[in-house]
């Protein structure tokens, strides 16, 4: 009987094996094609497109996190859509409309929960990563009857989510130890209009950028009892502030050794900050207002793209000398950059020229171009194993 069962199982396994060869997902990724509501599945060993997935709704400002097995991508759309994609089969597993207007999401440390940051209704909703069933709803009620847009949602060690309240000027920590009953810890008056945030790659520091003032709000998650403190106060004090045509992003900000490189709001500058003392050490003049300031995984280079109308360029900063070593002009509207896991290549999305460009980060030569329809975010699966991504 036992042998018979094994035989049956063997037959079933062999019989159902797909025609295609087995493959891993460690060199896969997805690209958001925002205008057409599509996701492109790509692989970065040979720089090719593998599949195109339709029906994802409004993907302006869409972002993606990955399951810990790196097979599934969770896509957060602007229209409140949360979609689970199987990147191996190139198909939608499940899609729910979870709010009217959302801005991004995160996956929990244990990989079991997916949280979405919502503008309307303001708050965070938490879903089961398998089924996308609602597990918890966390309205961002910062004062009686007043709800805030939420931004800068990240995962943190201890199965926690951390996020900021744009109108509420608060940071909240949601401890998901009991997923149905999140334990919320609130920090009030953290500064004017937090617009985005990041968590350091060790999961210790949560830092929110403030639109309404020249500083950042820092929360040490090892010592939440110490509260939030302001860092880089008055960093733009001696400069005329320029109009901001695109809000900078803090996710993926550059930590290189003991130094953090970050975009200055409303200035043509990248700020260099000591990541032990949180004091500014230098500022680097760049081509325009920086949007993404991202370190190559080894920390030796920092790549910068820019806000409209300077968004046709990308600059490369050598970290050791803090000098710009190259100004690239990939094309109209470079929206995002993503390094391969060990950083030998970087992919750029060139929205208005409808293509992706791949560069060698050592020679700074262009290696490949891939067609894509209004590409924005590029997300590789190695994010699955990084805190805060």
């Amino acid at each position: 009987m036992r042998h018979f069962l094994l035989l049956v199982m063997f037959t079933v396994l062999v019989g159902s094996a797909p025609a295609a060869e087995l493959r891993g997902t460690g060199d896969l990724g997805v690209v958001v094609q925002r205008a057409s509501g599509q996701l492109l599945v790509v692989e970065h060993s040979n720089n090719t497109r593998l599949a195109e997935i339709d029906g994802l709704g409004d993907l302006s400002h869409a972002s993606v996190v990955f399951s810990r097995d790196q097979r599934f991508a969770y896509v957060f759309g602007r229209d409140g859509g949360l979609t689970k994609i199987d990147i191996l089969t190139g198909s939608i597993v499940k899609r729910v409309m979870q709010s009217g207007n959302s801005i991004g999401g995160a996956i929990s440390q244990d990989g079991k929960l997916v949280a979405v940051s919502n503008y309307e209704p303001g708050g965070v909703r938490v879903f089961d990563a398998d089924t996308l069933d609602l597990v918890a709803d966390i309205p961002a009620e910062y004062a009686a009857g007043k709800f805030s847009k939420t931004v800068g949602l990240v995962d943190a060690p201890g199965n926690r989510f951390v996020f900021s309240l744009y109108e509420g000027n608060q940071i909240w920590i949601a401890d998901m130890t009991d997923p149905q009953r999140p334990a919320i810890k609130r920090f009030d008056d953290i500064g004017q209009a937090p617009y985005d945030a990041l968590i350091t790659s060790d999961g210790r520091y949560y830092i929110a950028g403030l639109f309404g003032e020249d500083s950042l709000a820092l929360l040490d998650l090892w010592h939440p009892e110490q509260g939030v403190r302001k860092i880089l106060k008055g960093y733009a004090r001696h400069d005329e502030k320029l109009p901001v045509y695109k809000m900078p992003h803090l996710e993926g900000w550059a930590m290189a050794g003991d130094e953090a490189f970050l975009p200055a709001v409303g200035q043509h500058k990248v700020l260099v900050m000591n990541a032990r003392t949180w004091q500014q050490e230098a500022e680097i003049e760049v081509h325009g207002q920086p949007v993404f300031v991202m370190a190559r995984p080894d920390g030796r280079q920092v790549w910068v793209n820019f806000a409209f109308p300077d968004n046709d360029r990308v600059q490369v900063i050598d970290v050791a000398s803090r000098k710009i070593i190259k100004t690239l002009k990939p094309g109209k509207a470079v929206l995002h950059m993503e390094f391969t896991p060990r950083g030998e290549h970087v992919w750029l999305s060139v929205r208005d020229d409808n293509r992706i460009e791949v560069y060698d980060t050592q020679s700074l030569d262009k290696l490949a171009e891939l067609p894509a329809s209004k590409p924005s975010g590029i997300f590789f699966t190695d994010r699955a194993h990084k805190i805060g991504l």
């Binding site: 302006s60 400002h61 931004v151 617009y195 695109k246 208005d352």
Partner: protein, 99 residues
């Protein structure tokens, strides 16, 4: 009807068809980074005809031209001409399907 016939060529004279196409792209892609690609709102408010129903042309013109102090809305007057801003206001307020 008569009004449309009069104003449409006037706008076309100052904002070429090619420029209109660029402005349409700007509205959806660049304004869209805060207001949503479909203009249904984001960090900034919705800019759909319904959302703008109670707001007159001049108010919207000044908002685009000068920005809104105390909010992230920047002034666009150094990047856009007056006829271009007029065109954008008309485009935002016009009903119907937008790309």
């Amino acid at each position: 009807m008569t009004l449309c016939a009069l104003t449409a060529p006037a706008i076309a004279d100052t904002v070429t068809a090619q420029r209109q196409s660029q402005l349409r792209n700007l509205v959806h892609q660049d304004c869209g980074s805060c207001h949503g690609m479909r203009l249904s709102g984001g960090l900034g408010p919705a800019l759909t005809p319904a959302a703008l129903a109670g707001k007159n042309h001049e108010f919207l013109f000044i908002t685009i031209s000068e920005g809104r102090a105390g909010t992230p809305m920047p002034p666009w007057k150094t990047l856009l001409s007056k006829p271009e801003i007029d065109w954008i206001v008309n485009y935002l307020k016009s009903p119907g399907e937008k790309p």
